[in-house]
């Protein structure tokens, strides 16, 4: 018994487990025992390092208990020992599939504390990069979904697109994954002169092959439909109760997008639609992601067209000492709401940094939705949430 546990008046185990512990011989109506199974953290198809403790009744999952922490780096503690700008490369390691959004969220939080003027060109570049990142995250997530259903080929088509976007990132930021590009007060460097044209050409090409590579290849497949339709269905109330955001919430029909409802950066100046779907199952989340990728293409084009000239870095002192207070940054990452809460005590290191990562919050769904589904349905439901290990483990 640990010292804290004594203080907690009602530490209870989750429902079924307590029943089992109280009565170890619990059997179902046929006198058969259930099978305990451990899925992960080294399971090859699992998204990152997640461990699911499953209780199976035949192929049906009776209980699902996610165990996290296999990639926990305590980023929030590390951030407390770094100066404000030095936290940005750490945020890249959070949700390593959508790094730009993490940087953007953190930078917005610090700018909320600092009250600096961001040059408009920097804002456009930020949104451009974030939307490219969303494209580079949504398209592979379709591939992951198919991989989980047992089809290997789509993932390679999807990663081809991600690789090309990463090449663009490499030209702009100098890194393929851990960018450290969005800085407090602007962005690290201006776009290289030939890059806007390259992005434009790439986007045009992607738009042309989008239908054939990611929609026709997948959407009409009878097996895909039968494996995803009605799997992981949740109601709007359930989705809101579970605190879902992003595509998992929008696929139930709740019309919520941070970019529109809590606008940041230059999103109010851009035109885009918030995609919703009514079904709330895995297939709906697939459709939402497809449509959102097309909206990202639209946003990227607008950014490139409207991009103003000028500086890309605001005027900041060398050493940032924000005033005491709280800073909040909230962005729509490809997985949902990514929020950062920075508490400053007036020194040059944050007093406390809290990340609200969408993977972490969306994963609460697993406990609620998976029981009652078949074992092979777990992976498509993971594909619905599409969590990233670095995200939920901070």
């Amino acid at each position: 018994m640990l010292k804290d546990e004594k203080r907690v008046e009602s530490i209870t185990l989750s429902g079924r487990e307590s029943v089992r512990l109280a009565n170890p011989d619990v059997r179902d109506e046929f006198g058969l025992e259930t099978l305990d199974m451990n899925m992960g953290p080294q399971h090859p198809a699992m998204h990152g390092l997640l461990r699911l403790i499953l209780e199976l009744d035949g192929e049906t999952v009776v209980r699902c208990d996610p165990v996290m922490g296999y990639l926990h780096r305590c980023q929030e503690k590390i951030a407390e020992n770094r100066m404000y700008p030095a936290v940005i490369p750490l945020t890249d390691r959070l949700d390593y599939f959508a790094n730009m959004h993490n940087e953007h969220g953190y930078v917005l939080a610090v700018e909320d504390l600092l009250d600096v003027e961001i040059p408009p060109r920097a804002e456009y570049i930020r949104v451009l990069m974030c939307e490219l990142m969303r494209l580079a995250s949504h398209i592979p997530s379709l591939g992951f979904l198919m991989l989980e259903l047992g089809a290997f080929t789509p993932i390679l088509y999807c990663f081809r697109e991600r690789e090309r976007i990463q090449t663009i990132f490499e030209a702009v930021t100098g890194a393929r994954m851990m960018f450290h590009y969005i800085r407090i007060g602007g962005v690290k460097a201006d776009l290289p002169p030939d890059i806007p044209q390259k992005i434009w050409d790439y986007i045009e090409g992607l738009e042309q092959r989008f239908q054939s590579d990611f929609v026709d290849l997948i959407q009409g497949n009878e097996i895909f439909i039968s494996r995803t339709r009605g799997v992981g269905t949740m109601s709007q109330e359930k989705a809101l109760e579970m605190g879902l955001t992003g595509p998992p919430l929008r696929c139930t029909g709740v019309d919520f997008d941070i970019r529109r409802d809590y606008p940041y950066s230059i999103y109010p100046e851009l035109e885009f639609d918030v995609i919703t779907d009514q079904a709330g199952d895995v297939e709906a989340s697939y459709r939402v992601r497809i449509a959102e990728a097309l909206q990202s293409i639209r946003l990227i084009k607008q950014c490139l067209e409207k991009m103003p000239e000028g500086e890309v870095m605001g005027d900041l002192g060398r050493r940032l000492r924000p005033a005491e207070g709280d800073g909040f940054g909230r962005v729509e990452s490809p997985r949902g709401e990514f929020s950062v809460h920075v508490v400053s005590d007036g020194s040059d290191t944050p007093y406390r940094v809290h990340y609200r990562d969408p993977s972490f919050c969306n994963m609460q769904l697993l406990q609620e939705v998976i029981p009652g589904h078949y074992l092979p349905d777990i992976m498509p439901i993971m594909g619905l949430i599409d969590p990233v290990s670095g995200g939920w483990d901070k």
Partner: protein, 335 residues
């Protein structure tokens, strides 16, 4: 010289030599199929596949075999060792054994059994035993699930597989594969895949399920049960299971060719190559194997309940209906 040849043609010796040749063929077929599978996958997936060992990676199977031979063979500590080690053999033997009844060319058959179709059905169903042995012997919950799935699937799909053969048996009036091939004639429109088209489709699908290929690879199901019944195998035992898988895939292609696509019969009479008609047999078998691989790399996997629904609610009734149709047509048009 002549006496040696006569000696070789004496029954037990001829059989052993021929069976040795079959074994050699099957093992090589497995290696070539692994290579072909990886190449096909590569070209479907916008990449090259293995291209480092030899010319365009042609020696890759050799490298694989060397690697697998030198790998340590690890068994789980709590495994039931005899069952665990016996399972790959139980999987491999049926995959080889059925080849002896397949006619490769006119007169080129190891054993012309008069119950060859029955022999095929009986021996392939031993494969389910190997799957159960592998899953049970490994003492892993993943293996056990894979084995249960495998057993259920293979036994369920045995039913449409057998039913789809009955039409051919009715048309031919014989259970011997040599008779079936001879009855099909040397024009491609006289092969059984046209009059028995629904049966051909059912046989093809049930065959896919029987050899555990996508979309019916639930016993392996690497995205949920990570290889299923073969999860604990490594080194040569794993290689033997893989060889059995690929051999049975080749076997299913060969049987499909023999039963529905005219076996060694040439597609048109003037293309008859006489003794070298095994060329046509090889071409047709390779085409069927390619379609297996094509499906493998472009389809997702079914779920267990959907698999069972598909087998029992669609394939079996379709077979029965077409069986009645065949019987009716045979009554109306005698001969």
């Amino acid at each position: 010289m002549q006496t040696v040849l006569n000696l070789l043609e004496m029954e037990p010796i001829r059989f052993f030599i021929a069976f040795g040749a079959i074994l050699f063929l099957v093992l090589n077929l497995a290696a070539i199929l692994v290579m072909a599978e990886r190449k096909v996958a590569g070209y479907i997936q916008l990449r090259y596949g293995p291209n480092r060992v030899g010319w365009r990676g042609i020696l890759q199977p050799l490298a694989d075999i060397i690697k697998l031979f030198t790998k340590e063979n690890v068994a789980p500590g709590r495994a039931d060792l005899w069952i665990f080690l016996g399972a790959p053999i139980a999987l491999f033997i049926p995959a080889v054994l059925v080849w002896i009844v397949i006619p490769f060319a006119p007169g080129a058959v190891v054993a012309d059994l008069n119950v060859a179709i029955l022999f095929f059905v009986g021996v392939t169903s031993i494969g389910a035993l190997g799957v159960i042995m592998a899953g049970y012997g490994s003492r892993s919950s993943f293996s056990l699930l894979g084995a249960l799935r495998g057993a259920a699937q293979m036994i369920s799909y045995e039913v449409p597989l057998i039913l789809s053969l009955l039409g051919i048996v009715m048309l031919t009036g014989s259970l011997s594969l040599v008779d079936v091939v001879n009855a099909q004639g040397d024009t491609f429109w006289s092969w059984y895949f046209l009059p028995q088209f629904p049966m051909f489709i059912v046989f093809y699908i049930a065959g896919l399920a029987e050899v555990k290929r996508v979309p019916f690879d639930l016993p392996e199901g690497e995205s949920e049960i990570v290889g299923g019944f073969m999860i604990e195998y490594s080194g040569m035992t794993w290689a033997l299971i893989q060889a059995a898988e690929f051999a049975s895939m080749g076997l299913m292609s060969a049987i499909t060719t023999t039963l529905f696509l005219g076996g060694w019969q040439p597609p048109l009479p003037f293309l008859d190559l006489g003794q070298f008609n095994w060329f046509w047999f090889g071409i047709k078998t390779a085409l069927i194997m390619f379609t297996f691989q094509w499906i493998r790399w472009s389809m997702p996997r079914l779920r267990m309940d959907q698999l069972m629904d598909f087998g029992w609610k669609i394939l079996v009734p379709a077979c029965l209906i077409w069986l009645f149709v065949t019987a009716g047509v045979m009554l109306i048009i005698p001969g």
